[in-house]
Amino acid sequence: MSENGMFGSTRPKKARKDTADRTQLQTIVLRFSRHRPAMISLVLLVLIVLFAFVGPLFWIWDHTVYKEIPSNLPPGGDHPLGTSAAGNDVLGQLMRGAQQTLKVAFSVSLLSTFVGSLWGATAGYYGGRVDALMMRVVDIFLIVPLLVAAAAIAGNTGAGASWSAIALIIAIFSWATIARVVRGVVLSLREQEFVEAARASGASAPWIIFRHLLPNAAGPIIVAATLLVAVAILAEAGMSFLGLGIQLPDISLGQMIGSARTAVSTRPWLFYPPGVLLVLICLTINFIGDGLRDALDPRQTRVRR
């Protein structure tokens, strides 16, 4: 229960000495840093990112097949995580796989957030028929199952050769979630008096959307974008697992699991590491998202249709 509700007061907590000197950013950082799981997750995620992007510079093997690598070695010795049947170093594969997975996921999130925010803010600001029409389009993208639709198109076009094409396809089916969140927030924001104040001073629609609505919706947007990273990772992994995502000779975590799925008990070192890494990435991102929500959006607004 918030302190505010407790007193039954219409007046939010007053800023006193202890908060007056802090900027908004500092307050947010402070609140985030108090969220212990989120802080631990942040450290872990940074380590994983380093592992994926900097790690390959320090490790002799990359993800491709080498004649020098004996097949099916269990972990230990020259190959700390073992080797595959074809002759890949699993550690090298893992670095590359994580790298591709992260690249796809972050691109999806950026792209979807950009399109979704603009779409949602426009619909929310204008309201009425414009809103009804624009949101109907969003509904359509929301009803198609993300993974399946993306997999169908990727499989059809053979886009798996490049990670950016995969990212684009996933983004096509995931911007709608962001649009919906932003539209919900903007719909309530635009009724706020400060928006009317800007209109009363003669501000134009783009002025209001870019200077008032989007900055104020930043909290929910950042949270949604963060959580979308996790969704995108699972979508890409699922596609690659089915063989419809990133294709050989390139590699991704989902694909590694896919090719090892018949070897769960015989060669567990092929099956478990990519899975654990996937879970770790998603878990950290979800916790960070949770921490961000607490820090940015203390009185969480839930969007209902």
Partner: protein
Amino acid sequence: MTTEYMNEEHAAAATDDDVVLEVTDLSVTFPSDDGPLPAVREVSYRLRRGEALGIVGESGSGKSVTSMAIMGLLPRNARVEGSAKVLGQEILGLSDKEISKVRGQKIAMIFQDPLTSLNPVYTIGYQIAEAVLAHKKVSKQVAMARALELLEIVGIPSPDQRLKQYPHELSGGMRQRVVIAIAMANDPDVIIADEPTTALDVTVQAQVLDALQRARRETGAALVLITHDLGVVAGQVDRVGVMYAGRIVESGPVEEVFYRPRMPYALGLLGSLPRLDGDRSDRLTPILGTPPSLRDLPEGCGFAPRCPMARDLCHQEEPQLLLTLEGGDRGPAEAGDADGHTAACHFSGELTGVEASDLFQATSVDTEGVGSVAEVEAAESLIAEAREEYLEEARAEPETAPETAGSTEPEVLLSATDLVKHFPIRSQGLLRRKVGEVQAVSGVSLDLRERETLALVGESGCGKSTTARLLLNLIRLTSGELTYMGRPLHGLSDRRMRPLRKDLQLVFQDPFASLDPRMAVADIIGEPMRIHGSGHRDARKRVKELLELVGLNPEHGSRYPHEFSGGQRQRIGVARALSLNPRVLVLDEPVSALDVSIQAGVINLLEDLQDELGLSYLFVSHDLSVVKHIADRVSVMYLGKIVETATTEQLFRAPAHPYTQALISAIPLPDPIKERTRERIIVTGDIPSPANPPSGCRFRTRCPKFAGELSEAERTKCVEEPPELLDRGAGHRDACHYSQVVELI
């Protein structure tokens, strides 16, 4: 700090059968990230059978937390100490099973917001019957019959139908009466009403207070009435306790406290209140500073930092709540005197015969940001300079320099004729077909003259805010004409309207929603200038002047809105509106979200700005007391129409329209004797929906005249013919076929 002397006396009082609720040294502390928050500190009071006790205080004073603690309704993490006894039984710390037998049965509660107090998924009947069944082993039919009976008592029309309805089908006033019915279901000994009418309109407030009185008569329950409204307290209770920073700082019989306050805070509160029975020329006296943060309460008296008569002792030692004696001495309460006039002030004796204006200063500077009289004076000279500069600049711009010399009648700036605004009600589907319309404004005409304040008064849903926005061309007219200095405004495109927006500006109600929380104050105030293409550096300089002009520290421009308190934010809103040198300000309920002690300073500021800058105000408000204080002329609105227009003087002295009369008589006066003896004109029912207004005269469904005095033939005219707004002489116009002047104050 101790109140031991009270305890001894309570030992004797425990045998007193008359006492139904006895609270002793009740303290409530909430844990928080920044340490414990003492929300309530050592509150003690006694309530006798059938008695009514008022607890008044501003927001955050701990008045609601006290009652929640008594009911055991606080969240688990709250630490509650002390004792609360109902009929001699200790009720703090009881198990769920034991407290369930007390709640509802012996002590019942009414909450502030009727819109959220009832469960949306159960019928009214179910929820009342549930309260009966919780304590009595009766059949469901019997419980339902009791529910019906209760609805009748609280005055709900056609109660048998209401039983089957869901909460959302009832208006706020009706729902609050349902909550009262629930409270009286088991004939409790005590009813605690926590701001029961704050969320309601005044005419509905009168009905609900009436229902509350009936409930008391019916059940014989004692009442604890918690409110911030001094007027409500004055008319409803026998004794009153004033809370400040978690403590009771003054208590006693209501007349004593209102007529002879012995604590500077109570005196200050009364002085900062605009009064319906007051004089317009009286300046209001705001209290300096803000209530202390519970997190770091000052040593000594909690009010000392704001108190004009505070001395060293006040800053060192917290005064006890002691009996005040005639002649100014203070002494410990004797047994049996506990119901006397007590005050927690070291120097309460010096307050004998002192008026608020003797002690507090009538100033328009930001009283929340300063702490001493010297600071106020410094700030006042700053504000004066700023006004000079502002005037010079305004004069430098030729187009806004008004040439009024020579003309006797002030020029009409803004003129509206027959404004109509209908909002379509649309279906939820893709096509959004129009399925009806809300007639928010139906034919409003008014003129706003130079340098005058025209108030637009009415209850919620009467269309006053819509009218205000129509006047600024913020929403499109359905029909009607609107001119500014002779130029038509209706139908102008946004682009053509933009230059005119410089002259017409708006100040909002909610000081928290009207400032963009992500922008620094300087950017907020400078935004209108940037929209109108002013240079960055010019805007910078001007922002500082504007901050000074509204009495704020010019160095605070880089701060964010959340660092300011309510009244300060409202000043920022005024500064933003002034940034383009407007001639007309539309003020939409500018002070209704503020606590009274802060409201006074903002009202003073608005008055000063008008005097010195020659602004015209359109003042939209539901609060007749404020309107009486600030306006030159008043228009009263009801359901989208103006029903009466007159000068403030005429309107309050001799209101002609039955609705105006009802409105005026529904406003509680903060004066116990006047409030109990004045003549009342009570209206029944709720405001009809503007989607489906009554034919003829829109007020007839609630009109006491229509219901009581008129003949059948006369009524037919009311039903069939909408009355026009006609002049009854001297510019006093009303829209009633059978208007008749009544004197009410």
